[in-house]
Symmetry: C2
DNA sequence: AGTCGATCGTTTGGGGCCGTACGTTTTCCG
DNA sequence: CGGAAAACGTACGGCCCCAAACGATCGACT
């Protein structure tokens, strides 16, 4: 040992002491906190190995991957599937374009749309990088059997599906009546109330 | 349907077409990609419900939680357990301090160390927010039985443990001989090489 | 043809986040 | 006692990320 990490069991015990009589959903807590731990660990591993060597960030890789798999795509779909906001995509796509990995073209009939597509260089890069990426996916899950991987994927899919189906409803329920408490971010109104 | 999302099954099929003859580790890919999807979905749900109402970001909450559970702590331990860099913690802690939720004090005998502790206001906030947080952890996992949650947590823990044990070794192996490809980030040298 | 609301991608502002550089303090080893 | 090495928290550069504002475009309805 030696590292400053506390085990999940220790943590749960300390939490129970803090909460005292309030019943704690331990299994659910363990599942959720481990999702985040695993996601962080996997992402860092990949960013510091395969993606580092290719000089790609996680997000940039995700965007390239979407366009690689699905071919020429509208930006809104890429942002949705990549799980980032459209504003983020604008910047990432611009960077990738400047590196000659993808192109941005106007849609033929709808002037509002922008289409993303890989350049030959982008295709080559993905053909080289993705097998290595998948090999690391296999590496990080090596202590799990393929069947266990599927079971894991299944459980996670249920969580995602539940949030997609009922997350918004739930959030509205929770905020019912309360002030929406705007986030500190976001662009400011041009002005207006001067004076 | 209706939304622009493609299912995992569709994605896997398209990937197989792209990769053709290259053998693909499908189960592992499904597991890893779902980890990230689930982590993003859960985080967004919590940020937009419980944490929004408390005006906390995910990271800020994580930091408060660590200090809440373990009491007065050295910053390096908090950063480690929260899964963020020490540089990030400096900023987050400063923000929380300015909001009167935690204090930063010098260690008595080791002048290099800084200790974090919750203020009474911080204690109150966590006593109020954490039960709600845990309730949402239960909500997102409601389609899984407690036993399934534990199984899920187990599988994820194996991944984290594997990366902790063998991740660094693996990364060195992969980069063997190659140029380390420095990241574009990081502070610049004060100067030096002028002329 | 003209208006108006919806939808698109982009811009903008605030903050999170990492990794490197840096100055300070402590510890190690003569 | 003194200098080197190690460890700490902070400053900073660059990118990611979101949400709201914004201008361009589209579509429906008149």
């Amino acid at each position: 040992m030696g590292v400053g990490k506390r085990s999940i069991t220790e943590t749960e015990k300390a939490v129970q002491e803090r909460l005292g009589d309030i019943p704690l959903r331990r299994e659910q807590m363990a599942a959720v906190s481990n999702i985040y731990r695993a996601a962080t660990a996997v992402r860092q591993h990949l960013e510091n190995s395969v993606l580092r060597e290719a000089e790609l960030t996680w997000t940039a890789f995700t965007v390239l991957w979407e366009v690689w798999i699905w071919g020429e795509s509208e930006t809104r779909h890429v942002a949705e599937d990549a799980g980032i906001s459209k504003g983020t995509l604008t910047g990432v796509a611009r960077t990738l374009e400047s590196r000659g990995l993808l192109t941005r073209t106007q849609h033929a009939s709808d002037g509002r749309l922008v289409l993303l597509a890989l350049t030959p260089a982008g295709e080559e890069l993905m053909a080289r990088v993705f097998p290595a990426f998948n090999a690391e996916e296999a590496f990080v899950t090596e202590d799990l059997s393929p069947a266990e991987c599927l079971k894991l994927a299944d459980g996670l899919r249920k969580i995602v599906a539940r949030l997609e189906a009922k997350g918004e409803e739930r959030r509205e329920e929770l905020l019912a009546g309360e002030a929406p408490k705007p986030r500190r971010s976001g662009r400011r109104p041009r002005n207006g109330a001067a004076g």
